[in-house]
């Protein structure tokens, strides 16, 4: 009998969700849109950077370097230009970077090889109006040019795991951290608060069923939706954005399930504080979304934050989740390697669930 009514709660809640087609569509579309947006449109990666070359004479060394550039899929070689055209080319946006070879480039390189003279100098002039792109373009350009085996590098930088600095790799874990809070925390809190606001909570409370049961029944459909979204994101990440996921999908999936439960608990906590749907929405947006965007390492590296915010970021669950997913997705670490993050997330889940269940009142006050 009691099992029966638990299932009918789940059914009722699912009906609410299924009947609200617009919300349903948004929940399913947002992850896809975000993935495509961050994966392709908003990118800080080096992609199709137009490069022009300035060289007094097209010596073997210069031609060798240009050869490398034009064969690289991330750069497009736009031809040789004159020294005085550099500024206008960059300004008009015809090119994103200009490589300038010294007139005696070959000779210097030769002498440098023999250890006689200083290493040759290549000048990179980069359009830095987009700092992120400029930074990674420069780094990658250096990588390409200095990769010439015959030359001796002035410095050596090696990009591990993500040598092309594909931004999608970085964003996918961030999007996951954001989406699940959105689906689980925001939607559950709004749906619980709706019952309070509409007045159905009053009727539900004046019944033999314990409120905790009603609440858990509410969470199950949202948990199911989140699982579908999770699978969608993983598929998109793997096959559309070519994220390697060498660490094994199982680990990422398990960790994500834990994060889902955590998000649900967060939503429950919000629902115990808010009395109107609007308030629940605002709390979810301000208290949860902003820290995730700013303090989780999704957009800005945590190391770049002011000291104070670095400390604050420790209590943002998404920080630990995103960090762990990055390690598993991009570095290819197994789940055991991020056990610290798992423990922290588990602890947070238990604490949140405990506090919100304690706070959840079976009276109206």
């Amino acid at each position: 009998m009691m099992r029966g009514n638990f299932l009918s709660f789940v059914k009722k809640e699912s009906l609410h969700i299924l009947r609200d087609k617009r919300t349903m569509l948004i929940v399913m579309l947002i992850p896809v849109v975000l993935m495509i947006l961050f994966g392709f449109a908003i990118s800080t990666e080096v992609n199709n950077v137009n490069v022009a070359v300035v060289a007094a004479e097209r010596s073997d060394g210069v031609r060798d370097a240009v050869e490398r550039l034009s064969h690289n899929e991330y750069f497009t070689f736009k031809g040789y230009i004159a020294q005085d055209k550099i500024d206008s080319y960059l300004r008009s946006g015809k090119v994103g970077a200009v490589v300038v070879f010294a007139a005696d480039y070959d000779r210097c390189a030769e002498l440098a090889k023999q250890g006689v003279e200083e290493k040759p100098i290549i000048q990179l002039i980069v359009d830095a109006s987009n700092v992120n792109t400029a930074g990674s373009a420069t780094a990658y350009l250096q990588g390409v040019l200095l990769g010439t085996a015959s030359e001796q590098a002035m410095f050596e930088t090696r990009m591990l795991f993500n040598p092309q600095m594909k931004s999608a790799y970085n964003f996918v874990p961030g999007i996951m951290g954001l989406i699940f809070i959105l689906v689980c925390a925001m939607m559950t809190s709004v749906s619980i608060v709706r019952e309070k606001e509409v007045g159905t909570m009053e009727v539900l409370l004046v019944s033999p069923v314990r409120p905790v049961k009603i609440i858990f029944a509410k969470m199950i459909p949202y948990f199911a939706i989140s699982c579908i979204v999770l699978v969608m994101i993983l598929l998109l990440a793997r096959y559309l954005l070519d994220v390697p996921m060498t660490g094994g999908v199982g680990g990422i999936f398990s960790l994500s399930l834990l994060y889902l439960v955590l998000s649900l608990s967060l939503g429950l906590l919000v629902s115990t504080i808010a009395t109107t749907q609007m308030a629940a929405l605002l709390i979810s947006a301000m208290v949860m979304m902003m820290p995730i965007l700013m303090l989780s390492g999704m957009l800005f590296p945590i190391e770049n934050l002011p000291k104070f915010f670095q400390v604050v970021s420790n209590i943002v669950p998404a920080r630990w989740y995103i960090d762990a997913v990055r390690k598993m997705m991009i570095q290819g670490l197994p789940l055991v390697a991020v056990w610290e993050n798992c423990v922290i997330l588990l602890g947070m889940t238990v604490a949140l669930l405990g506090v919100s269940l304690k706070k959840f009142n079976d009276k109206l006050e």
Partner: protein, 299 residues
């Protein structure tokens, strides 16, 4: 033991005493009405008895169970219909009913005989979303949901507010039918004319109970003579009448003003005094519950 017993129940919200030391008892199988305007404390009283709020002072029992210590027992044996529509608008009539049946661990079929007189009227629309029902039909559905577990006590907080006159009358007929089946009903309404449908009523105002009696008893308690007066300029008449000798009170009442006569009031003298008032008429009137309410409120 009475179905509902309330002793000196008080409840404050901030500094406002929503309910101030209220006491009354409702017998088993009785249809008991709480009559009073908005802000009288009716909803607070319902929420206290339905164990949704904690009382500041006083004790109360419902069906023999204390509202504080045995609130779980009360929750499974009362039917509660809050003041505003509290069903799921996006679920159909039948889905709502099935859900509430499941909530109480029963099936529609088990309780069908009890809800049939009410539910049959909306059954043709069972696939319609509850949010798309008319006001009267919504109330019928809400009542069916409140009855689904065969409660011994029914709490109905302003069930007829916002419902058309015909549906209101039908609704009271349904309550009479439920009373016959032995269900104790506590119902509130701001409409004085509905009070006569109750076995006994309590007149409430600003957290106090002004009087408890049968509707007839309440009216009988009105021991002054009452007149209905009218004139072309009703407002001027009110001002003049209030200042006249032997007039205890005069207040607007529908189309006429009601004039409560004090000792020493004389109809002839009153007419003579207001002889300059155009179209003056004065007839004896039967006191109603509303007259009694106004009288008690002013005391």
């Amino acid at each position: 033991m009475a179905a509902i017993e309330v002793h000196n129940l008080s409840k404050c919200y901030g500094g406002v005493r929503a309910l101030d030391s209220v006491s009354f008892a409702v017998e088993r199988g009785e249809l008991f009405g709480l009559i009073g305007p908005d802000g009288a404390g009716k909803t607070t009283l319902f929420r206290l008895l339905a164990t949704l709020l904690n009382a500041d002072e006083g004790v109360a029992t419902v069906d023999g169970f204390d509202i504080k210590s045995d609130y779980r027992a009360i929750r499974s044996r009362v039917g509660y219909m809050p003041g505003r529509f509290s069903l799921y608008p996006d679920l159909s009539v039948e889905e709502n009913l099935r859900f509430f049946a499941a909530l109480f661990g029963v099936t529609i079929e088990e309780s069908y005989d009890l809800i049939a007189p009410i539910y049959k009227q909306i059954e043709p629309f069972r696939t319609r979303r509850a949010g798309k029902l008319s006001g009267g039909m919504k109330q019928k559905l809400a009542l069916s949901c409140a009855l689904i577990h065969r409660p011994s006590v029914l709490f109905l907080d302003e069930p007829t507010t916002g419902v058309d006159a015909v549906s209101r009358s039908e609704f009271w007929d349904m309550l009479a039918g439920l009373k016959k089946r032995g269900i104790t009903i506590l119902v509130s309404t701001p409409y004085m004319d509905e009070a006569s449908r109750c076995d006994r009523i309590a007149l409430c105002n600003e957290g106090h109970i002004l009087g408890i009696d049968t509707p007839e008893g309440i009216v009988r308690g009105f021991d002054k003579k009452l007149y209905g007066i009218g004139a072309k300029n009703m407002y001027a008449l009110l001002e003049r009448a209030r200042r006249a000798d032997g007039v205890e009170d005069c207040y607007p009442f529908g189309e006429k003003h009601h004039l409560v006569a004090d000792e020493g009031f004389d109809k002839g003298r009153f007419k003579a005094l207001l002889s300059d008032v155009e179209g003056l008429e004065i007839v004896e009137a039967e006191p109603t519950i509303e007259d009694m309410f106004i009288k008690l409120m002013k005391r």
